[in-house]
Symmetry: C2
Subunit: 158 residues, 2 copies
């Protein structure tokens, strides 16, 4: 959080601002299920976007697992665009809707470096429910169709 006024274009996203922390579970047909601790931050600098950052850690040793970073915009007050980069050599363009409590985004483009794994489609759903921010990620990868991958429940820590 900071003292700069939130830009009018992203005013409906005010409820997401801050740092959220919690636990998640990962599953996918090609890997063993896993649990993780996660921190997600939505920040702003007074411009018409939010900066989004995510980090996850293995427990109990705190070894870093995944990270991703990008930016969220609202072309209108009920449509949303999120662009993301991943350390796995993958970029995502996702587009969808924001209804005041739920952000539902589907990939319109996935880009990969020559050495990245074949992820071809992603669906991301963030849902505010009281004090909780829940999200799920479904992914089409390794030749599989869009399949559940991640689910986490986070609470605002600052």
């Amino acid at each position: 959080m900071n003292e700069i006024a939130l830009h009018h274009d992203v005013a409906p996203l005010r409820v997401l601002l801050g740092t959220w922390r919690g636990e998640g579970q990962g599953d996918y047909p090609t890997i063993d299920p896993f649990s993780y601790t996660e921190e997600v931050t939505f920040g702003h600098v007074g411009k018409p976007f939010l900066a989004y950052g995510q980090k996850t850690w293995r427990q109990p040793d705190g070894f870093p697992l995944h990270a991703e970073s990008g930016y969220l915009r609202l072309p209108s007050w009920d449509t949303a665009e999120l662009v993301l980069a991943h350390p796995t050599g993958i970029v995502e363009v996702t587009e969808g809707t924001w209804d005041g409590t739920q952000l539902l985004l589907r990939s319109t483009l996935i880009g990969r470096t020559a050495t990245a794994k074949p992820v071809t489609e992603v669906e991301r759903r963030f849902t505010l429910d009281g004090d909780e921010l829940r999200y799920t990620v479904a992914m089409a990868a390794m030749g599989l169709p869009l399949t559940h991958h991640l689910a986490a429940i986070l609470r605002r820590v600052r």
Copy 2:
């Protein structure tokens, strides 16, 4: 900088680690020339990539201009991949070479949301020269071919 050992796969990039700050100039046929203050950070968490973040500000008032964030990997010790997200609704996959002092990257894919400007190609060059990190960015956008856009000179601040 931190106490975690740098991953072997990105060991050649050790010279880039830290936060760099300096001044740059922007030009493009479709806009007025502009100057900016910039901070670039290359960080790591012990995994086989560096996290890359960049922010620029207008002077003298410090109004935020651009930002970008992403991740840098070395498929081999002399080839490099950088994936980036921009608050303008653009993602980049760039690939190229690292020779110990120069990172030369050319876009292999540019992805855009429905509302992003038509950027179609990017070339990024980072060059270490003594205490300085210099970079240039050329861009094909708004229907123009690859054309010089940014040049900056930065010095490590931490």
